[in-house]
Symmetry: C2
Subunit: 286 residues, 2 copies
């Protein structure tokens, strides 16, 4: 695995394999790598000749009162974790990514203002813009994202379609801890007690599916039950619970087909998100 810091150096390194027709897979990350990231890297390795992982804590996707400064950074540890799993680790410098006078934004209108976008103003513009940049630098055939960041995945897929970007984007399943907590770099912020409480997100998701299984179809009813359930955990504060169409993110009043249930819950001071596809099971007798 080669660590590359300069945009030009990465382009140069990838030029010859690209010309030889070798497939390039790309996993963009913000570092603080965990098994969720690794599942993307392994999938990329399986499906490509060359795998590029980027680590870039992108300042433009953090709000002024968010955790940019404190976001976990440990390149040494990340490098160790990746060793053998990828070919290039791209760690660009923020001053090269955003040179003086930088002023271009990619906006996926409408989708970025919903759900997490309501509290995280500008977050998804920052995400879309940096991913567009990274795609243009790496020029991969395929890029891999986690379902844990469901809204991000929808927005990036939409951007890629709308801008005709020649990259196939694959969304991989959320990787969970033993108790069901979705893996996230931000889990590191949790105290021991909060860590135990944080399982409430996954428990809520599972209970929603049980409600659907028992015949409940009204989103409002499910959301209300989940809200009560999560609120019973004292350290947890619900930011939103939403049931939406998985492609358009538009609200579904009723669950009549696959539906995406999303949660944002603050546990202690740590904002956590999780999601699950709710499915209507067809009875085996039919």
């Amino acid at each position: 695995m080669k660590i590359v810091k300069k945009i030009g150096a990465l382009r140069k390194a990838l030029e010859s394999p690209r010309c030889q027709g070798r497939c390039i897979g790309f996993v963009p990350t913000m570092g603080a790598l965990h098994c969720g990231h690794l599942s993307l890297v392994h999938r990329a390795k399986k499906e490509n000749d060359i795998v590029v992982v980027s680590i870039f804590v992108n300042p433009t996707q953090f709000g002024p009162h968010e955790d940019f400064v404190h976001y976990p950074r440990n390149l040494k540890k990340d490098t160790k974790i990746l060793k053998g799993s990828c070919d290039y680790l791209f760690v660009p410098d923020v001053r090269e990514m955003y040179a003086q006078g930088f002023r271009t934004r990619v906006e996926v209108g409408g989708l970025g203002e919903l759900l997490c976008g309501r509290t995280r103003k500008g977050h998804f513009t920052g995400v879309a813009t940096v991913v567009a940049k990274l795609f243009s630098i790496v020029l991969p055939q395929t890029a891999y994202f986690g379902q844990k960041d469901a809204q991000q995945a929808v927005i990036i897929k939409k951007m890629v379609t709308d801008l005709n970007i020649p990259v196939k984007t694959i969304v991989c399943p959320t990787v969970r801890e033993k108790d069901g907590l979705a893996m996230s770099s931000r889990n590191a912020y949790l105290s021991e007690g909060e860590r135990r409480d944080a399982v409430v997100l996954f428990q809520a998701l599972k209970s929603a599916q049980r409600l659907v299984d028992s015949g409940v179809r009204e989103s409002a009813r499910i959301i209300s039950v989940l809200n009560d359930f999560i609120t019973r955990t004292v350290s947890a504060r619900v930011e939103y619970i939403a049931i939406v169409d998985e492609a358009s993110l538009s609200t579904l009043e009723k669950i009549e087909r696959r539906a995406l249930l999303l949660l944002a819950v603050t546990v202690g001071k740590t904002r956590l998100i999780d999601n699950m596809i709710l499915k209507i099971k067809v009875s085996g007798n039919r």
Copy 2:
């Protein structure tokens, strides 16, 4: 020259020459081709192995009260003009370029709201977005734009830099009629009398350089003289006259180095633009 209408078909056609390392040059146009466009195509032909010209009257760069519906379209004539000069003529369908649910915008913050952007709200967002799309479809090494649309050229160059788009953009000199009128598809809107009056833009540009040559350095003074000069032509109405830095488009109070002078003038009902670099001549004796 092959006419291609589908995005997938163009991609397929360009795949093999690209893999063989052949250089692709690209000239995006809205059709109604004139010698200005042809100068770009010829330059592209000289510098590349394969030349792609696109004709797409992009609806998103027209305001609701602008001339989208009446913009001149004549594919037959354009095809004749291009014959022998390019390899692929790409004429995408608006329904494929903007499929239902299209919602992504590329904004070059700040630059798109100045000058022409003041009256043409959203125009440069439309331009930047469609050019980003076309670049992603054609994947050229080099793309060619005309200096006549100076603000557009600055914005596209900035977008390319900011988003790390691997396309070299070349801006070619404005091509003029014998009397100096900058070639433009919109010149076709002018009546015979207006066509004669329209030369006032070029005359104004030239007189500005003469003022600089005679030692005038204050932009306000030059703008005032030009305004008086243009206004003497009854059919002409000044929209703006500006003297700016040629890279940042920021206003220059004084002309101390190369400066970009831009005009937007409506002649009859036709909005025309033109521009010129003002230079300070260094005396031969020094």
